[in-house]
């Protein structure tokens, strides 16, 4: 992230319009996505037409669509979007009950030779990203793969880092970061909760 | 020979009375009896019945001593309150000669727990081709009076007619396992809704009823005595009622399991519930209970059928049919007939002792509890309930369909000609 602007404009106004206890309000989320779109355009340069934004379900999928829409709005270039379900690639399947699968959808023509940016809501241990990389390997051979996340909360367990970060949020391991998006949860909001607050 | 003074037993469930047992007989029945030197058995609250008689027991010896022996089966019988059991002929070798029936009879005498009364095969090797030497078996030390190919139906109508006729000269009876074999090829369970769902080949009620209808007509035609084994369907009860009304000399038995269990038991495919004839429907259970209550069905017979573990812990279709019955028979009759109000204890004595003894022509069993009669008795505690544990059974096999089921009553003591074979619920030898 060398050379990119200082992190998260929303940090200037953390209380602002957000609901009590919320880390990011709806307006914050929109600003963060806009800024990430600008960064993508800047970094991709002439390669923008090659770009495919591939969301990791559940919330990475709508985030990828929003990012694509903003990139198109700012650059005038239509951006391909896809999703890759990583459930069947997870290394922690035995740790909880069986999960329903989500869609894997790639643009016509696939991802061979293209610049794939994986999009997810929260970067934590890095295991989801690793699973997504495994899935991508089975799906094709991109020219390069990058990673964009709305929140990076630290505590990596694998040598993985994001190329685009909406907001760095220092947390303790026991806290949880809850991202809500209009498409999946009815409204945009990011909240850090303590263990006892979990339902 | 020791004498016993049974204090306060309710004879046939009536008022308490004392029973003095001496020299193998009932010496006195009355209030406040005393006898010096007699061992006192406290029987307050216990019901006294004549020793039970089973017309249908598979003791497996000779041939499958791994499943049961005459001795282990006799012990199970005594613990169940029986003083006489009829040992079915489908052993290996088949009990179709005087030699085999005498061997079984002698083994019973040696065990000394119940009178083991051999049943003779109707046909040589149970093959249904030609009559066995019925007269020789009748004349043997075993004094065979009941003849049966049980396990297999005497399906050839001409052969059945001859058998019925022939045993008239022996004061015998043919006990028919009523199953038209062509209608039960590969049959696994009662044919109906459940067999359709479970994908198990059906055993239609009509296969039993058709043979019973045929045989009551044959028995009437030749004026012979006929006994029907293990009646299991409502239709069979109706045919028997009709036949008896017409004066046919037919008797019939029902098993404890057909009084209690239905084809719903097959749902889990546990072969412990595989039996022949199969468990039927609720309506059939209701009909056989009613038939036993009104006397259309004369008696309860266990069809006690021990099987080794490997013959039951396998696929349903491969499993041998049959289930244990001796040790729980009385409890199930109490559960299904007494506690439902269909029979009183006098009725139980009639259906489990008097009538089966008469059918088997056993002169020393099924007698009144009165002075001078042989002291064949059972004392049972009708109160309390207990859960059946197959591991605790005296039978050598474990295929009890009642495992884990709570049943009423308990056999406290059994006397065979004045000798206790069971005391305090424990076998005495």
């Amino acid at each position: 992230m060398a050379g990119s602007p200082p992190a998260a404009s929303s940090s200037r106004d953390p209380r602002g319009p957000a609901a009590p206890g919320a880390l990011l309000s709806a307006a914050d989320v929109a600003r963060v996505v806009d800024r990430m779109a600008h960064q993508l355009i800047e970094k991709a340069g002439n390669g923008l037409a090659d770009l495919v934004l591939v969301g990791i379900p559940t919330r990475g999928a709508p985030l990828a669509r929003r990012l694509a829409a903003r990139v198109e709005a700012f650059s005038g270039t239509a951006i391909d979007v896809g999703t890759v379900d990583i459930t069947l690639y997870r290394d922690d399947l035995r740790l909880r009950g069986v999960r329903a699968l989500e869609d894997t959808v790639l643009p016509d023509g696939g991802i061979d030779g293209r610049l794939v940016v994986l999009v997810d809501d929260v970067l934590f241990s890095g295991r989801s990203v690793r699973a997504a990389l495994d899935a991508l390997r089975d799906l094709g051979r991109p020219r390069a793969v990058q990673l964009a996340v709305l929140i990076d909360r630290g505590h990596r367990e694998l040598p993985i880092r994001a190329d685009y970060v909406g907001k760095n949020v220092p947390t303790s391991r026991t806290q949880s970061v809850k991202v809500r998006l209009a498409e999946t949860d009815g409204a945009d909001e990011v909240r850090v909760t303590e263990p006892e607050e979990r339902p | 020979m020791s004498s016993y003074l049974i204090k306060g037993a309710r004879v046939l469930g009536g008022d308490p009375a004392d029973l003095l047992i001496k020299d193998g007989r009932i010496a006195a029945v009355g209030e406040s009896l005393s006898a010096t030197g007699a061992e006192v058995v406290h029987a307050t609250g216990l019901v006294a019945l004549p020793g039970l008689v089973d017309l249908h027991t598979h003791l497996r010896e000779p041939g499958r001593e791994d499943a049961e022996t005459v001795e282990t089966g006799s012990r199970a019988a005594a613990l169940g309150g029986f003083t006489a059991v009829h040992a079915m002929a489908n052993t290996d070798p088949v009990a179709d000669t005087a030699g085999v029936v005498e061997q079984v009879w002698r083994l019973g005498q040696e065990a000394g727990l119940v009178d083991v009364v051999p049943v003779g095969a109707v046909t040589v090797g149970l093959k249904g081709e030609r009559l066995a030497e019925l007269g020789a078996m009748a004349d043997s030390a075993a004094r065979v009076r009941v003849f049966s190919d049980d396990g297999i139906c005497v399906s050839d109508p001409a052969l059945m007619r001859r058998a019925l006729e022939y045993v008239k000269a022996l004061d015998g009876v043919v006990a028919q396992h009523a199953e038209e074999p062509r209608l039960t090829v590969g049959a696994q369970m009662h044919e109906g809704d459940r067999s359709a769902k479970l994908g198990l080949t059906g055993w239609p009620a009509a296969a039993e009823e058709a043979i019973i209808a045929r045989d009551v007509l044959l028995a009437q035609h030749v004026g012979a005595r006929l006994h029907i084994c293990h009646v299991s369907t409502a239709g069979s009860v109706e045919i028997l009622r009709w036949a008896k009304a017409r004066g046919v000399d037919v008797t019939a038995e029902v098993t404890p399991h057909h009084l209690l269990l239905t084809d719903a038991c097959a749902e889990g495919y546990d072969p412990v519930f595989k039996v022949n004839p199969p468990l039927r429907t609720d309506a059939d259970v209701e009909a056989v209970r009613a038939g036993l209550a009104d006397g259309t069905i004369d008696c309860v017979a266990t069809d006690h059928a021990p099987h080794a573990v490997e013959d039951k812990e396998c696929e349903w279709a491969q499993a041998r049919p049959g289930m244990l019955g001796l040790e729980q028979a009385l409890a199930i009759v109490q559960d299904t007939m007494v506690e439902t109000g269909l029979l009183d204890w006098a009725g139980v004595a009639d259906r489990m002792s008097v009538r089966p003894a008469a059918i088997g022509r056993l002169t020393g069993h099924g007698r009144p509890i009165a002075p001078g009669e042989p002291a064949n008795l059972v004392l049972l505690d009708p109160t309390g309930r207990s859960v059946v544990d197959p591991a605790a059974l005296a039978s050598r096999s474990r295929n009890s369909p009642y495992a884990g089921r709570e049943l009423p009553g308990r056999v406290v003591a059994t006397f065979l000609r004045g000798v206790p074979t069971v005391l305090d619920g424990k076998a005495q030898r």
Partner: protein, 306 residues
């Protein structure tokens, strides 16, 4: 989902729909890929325990398990200790001691999978037991119908042939009913079980009366040997009354499809030109079988042990 898949009744509407949706997602995830393998069940062991020869079902399960990276052991009754008289229970306990996580069992005796499930800790999948059930066949049939017609609710399915001896029919009647389809069984009365009236299906003896109203015609295999036990007089008469030929196929609605679980008796229950027509889903059913079985294995083994 329950721990085992022993019969179609183990699946309620939500479970059945989950299996079909999962199969669709797996199929989509794998479509057009060179690498048709997923790492999902790496380290898990699936045993195919086959007491009957059924190469197609065994291969389908084997492929499904392998595409999910499970280790697969094929244990066929022939030439093994089973043929030397080892009991089903001993075999099951041996396989479990070797570390099997799931046993896929095909057995000639109805209920064998139920018994197996009572003896082992792992999951049991019924791959066809006697004349009882074949639940994954019903799932792949339902999947095929939904794929072709876009729905299952209200779809009218005629199941034609030897219902009495058919595990496919039993599973389909139950599952299709769960999924909201309307099933009509069509057969000579000899090939319908006594007790069929308790099934959630209509019954007809007249194929020609049923065909015009059917969205799906599912033809069951009928063995010609059944005529020796007088289930019907002759193969010719059976075929004339209950076989699906080109003339009868013409009576079907425009979008109606023809299914067959295989293997077919061409000329007996189904004419060659019907089996090879565009209405026929027979080849598709085979392919769908792998996706559906992957879904079943994933849903049974893909989470924490129960």
């Amino acid at each position: 989902m329950k721990r085992h898949l022993l019969e179609a009744a183990d699946l309620d509407l939500a479970d059945a729909t989950l299996v079909l949706d999962t199969a669709a997602q797996i199929e989509a995830a794998l479509s057009g890929r060179e690498v048709k393998k997923l790492p999902t069940l790496r380290g898990r062991t699936v045993v195919n325990l086959f007491y009957e020869d059924s190469t197609r079902t065994r291969i389908s399960f084997e492929l499904a398990a392998k595409r999910l990276s499970a280790d697969v052991i094929n244990f066929s009754a022939k030439g093994s200790s089973v043929s030397k008289g080892e009991s089903l229970k001993d075999t099951a306990l041996t396989l479990e001691a070797m570390g099997s996580d799931a046993i896929v069992i095909r057995h000639g005796a109805s209920g064998a999978p139920h018994q197996l499930a009572s003896w082992v800790r792992g999951s049991v999948v019924n791959a066809g037991d006697g004349t009882h059930e074949h639940p994954t066949q019903a799932l792949l049939d339902a999947y095929t119908i939904r794929h072709r017609l876009g729905r299952l609710e209200g779809v009218r399915v005629a199941v034609v042939g030897d219902v009495l001896h058919s595990r496919v029919a039993r599973s389909n009647v139950r599952l299709l009913h769960t999924l909201g389809a309307e099933v009509t069984l069509v057969a000579p009365p000899t090939l319908l079980p006594v007790g069929v009236g308790s099934w959630p299906a209509e019954v007809s003896y007249d194929l020609d009366a049923v065909l015009p109203k059917a969205d799906v015609v599912m033809m069951l295999r009928v063995q010609a040997e059944r005529m020796n036990a007088s289930f019907f007089p002759s193969a010719r008469e059976y075929s004339r009354r209950y076989g699906l030929d080109a003339r009868r196929m013409a009576a079907l609605g425009d979008d109606a499809i023809v299914m067959h679980p295989g293997p077919m008796n061409r000329g007996m229950e189904i004419a060659a030109e019907v089996a090879d027509s565009v209405r026929s889903t027979i080849v598709e059913q085979v392919g769908n079988g792998v996706s559906v079985r992957m879904a079943v294995l994933y849903l049974l083994l893909g989470g924490a042990p129960a």
